[in-house]
């Protein structure tokens, strides 16, 4: 079903998932298109971003952000067009970026959204990928916590995703060896050919750990953590003394309902942190680095304009398909940055 001019479709959280989310956890509702109060703009969603963090918002387990409540619109960043404006800075037709969620239309404070850089008017969804939150996440986690030095080895999983692919490309710009991890041969080949990884290992391979070891002959100096699980298990023995581990995400465990069976390896990890003098640090991009967004935007814009940054999008058509696309994303089925085309971009 395509976007209507009179009805606002909203995808709300119907129930909380136990384990992997299913279609039944979402419900589509139809509402009137909202009106703008003074200072607000009415937005029509064009591109909706889907990202792994959304799994966390579906649960009410303690986390860094409040969960979506049952019956509330699913949260999410989107690129939209201004339909009507009661804010002096916006006019009908403007492109904006905002946290407007899984719906066709929204009425939000003009001060809560950001006009897109005119440079990307011909490709506005980039504001949800390399030139937006995922790009910022890759940039700050790698450079500020990872602190990669020329000649060091940087490893990252989800190497064809928006964060992983950019971690690899920035690592190369910084003179590092970049080793990616991805699911399947096609993604691995793409990571090397299009994103410039020196090697990319298929985590589905039976000898994955041995292949990773062979691809990191000098060990691992920076492991950009976005998946956890068996990838981290394979990384652990390869970590060099004083390695840095920015912890950006743990997609492999978001759907887990129980801890794995023992033995309890918590003391093993603690002992490794001590003996190898690791720095392991979690971060939440806007909370921790919001004040440095301009620094990212300037540097990434420069690299992008110079043609140094490749990207890949995985577009899903239609808001109604967002639940399936998120479910697939959490299973690693996407190939590139997952974006839902909610409406026409005219």
């Amino acid at each position: 079903m395509s976007q209507s001019k009179t009805v606002n479709r909203r995808l709300v959280l119907a129930s909380r998932p136990h384990g992997a989310p299913t279609a039944e956890n979402f419900r589509q509702e139809e509402h009137p298109i909202p009106q703008a109060d003074e200072g607000q703009v009415v937005l029509r969603t064009v591109f909706l971003s889907l990202d792994p963090y959304m799994r966390g918002r579906m649960s009410d387990a303690p986390s860094y952000a409040a969960p979506v409540q049952i019956g509330e619109v699913m949260t999410g960043g989107a690129v939209s067009r201004v339909v009507s404006s009661r804010h002096p800075d916006f006019q009908e037709g403007d492109w904006v970026l905002g946290s407007t969620g899984w719906q066709d239309y929204s009425a939000v404070a003009g001060d809560s959204v950001k006009k897109l850089d005119p440079r990307i008017a011909d490709h506005p969804s980039l504001a949800l990928g390399v030139l937006g939150m995922p790009g910022f996440t890759a940039f700050m986690g790698l450079l500020d916590i990872g602190d990669p030095q020329p000649g060091e080895t940087v490893v990252v999983a989800a190497a064809t995703g928006p964060v992983g692919s950019l971690v690899g490309q920035i690592a190369k710009i910084k003179g590092c060896r970049a080793v990616g991890i991805a699911g399947g041969e096609e993604k691995c080949r793409y990571a090397q050919e299009e994103f410039g990884f020196d090697a990319c290992i298929d985590h589905r391979a039976e000898d994955f750990a041995e292949q990773l070891k062979a691809a990191c002959p000098d060990g691992i100096d920076v492991y950009y953590e976005n998946v956890g699980g068996k990838v981290f298990d394979a990384v652990m023995p390869l970590l060099n003394t004083k390695a840095r581990i920015p912890v950006c995400g743990l997609v492999s465990q978001y759907n887990a309902t129980n801890l794995p069976d023992g033995p309890d390896r918590l003391p093993l990890l603690a002992g490794m942190i001590l003996r190898k003098r690791l720095r392991v640090q979690g971060f939440i991009i806007f909370d921790d680095y919001g004040h440095r967004y301009d620094e990212f935007a300037a540097q990434m814009g420069e690299w992008f304009d110079a043609g140094k940054i490749a990207f890949r999008e995985d577009i899903t058509e239609g808001l109604e398909n967002a639940p399936d696309a998120l479910i697939g994303l959490l299973e690693g089925k996407n190939f590139g940055k997952v974006v839902v085309r909610v409406g026409e971009d005219e």
Copy 2:
């Protein structure tokens, strides 16, 4: 047996421990007193330092430092007197600090030892405690990685030991709430009365975790990790967002021969690092901070001279008792900095 003027007793590693070390892992040998080559000094050990890291050197598991080989003298820092010198900077009778190990006499390069600050000539063993390696360890781990801010809560175990007691005192100097953990009521009382901890919790208490929680009403901002095990388990749920964990040691697990039973809590720790945006960082004091020793010496000397630093030593008499003292130290039986008086200090 007291120190001889003709025989050099040496305590060597006889075998590697499986689990907790026993007396059989050590062997006492008698050797002639060594002679100085050109550039060397002959030293008579007066005070030998015993420290938890020595357990690691007894094993050949991969670690940050080479293990002591079977038949080699046990490694250790000591304060000694120069017996004879073939190095222009040293004279008979000088007090020096060096890594001369568990023996009465040693012949070492003059350039490998350090003259003691004359200010502590009346208390030379302090060079093994608050004014030496343990003090430096407390200082750098807390201030550089822990980065304590006024009003924050700092938690440390082994609160009457040389590192823990100093972590607490520096935390107080920095305007923090200092909560100690120690084994037994007597140590806990001492930590509060003599070292100024705001609270000190007995880890042997049945309701230890509840008591710790009650002592940290605003959560924990810095956990200075030197023990691991059940103390860390109790600390984990109390950690605040953006808490820092300098990992200095894990005494509770040094004697472990197996990982604990499951479930596997490694993903739990990883998830907590992510959600709470923790910074967890191991360090080895001289490897990581050797270049900042003067900074420590100047600041600690100033605090010490101003009477702001309390300390407590636990003196064992006689080199032959060093094995038992180390075994006790690893079980938390010591009460203060463990020093072996190997010889008279005249």
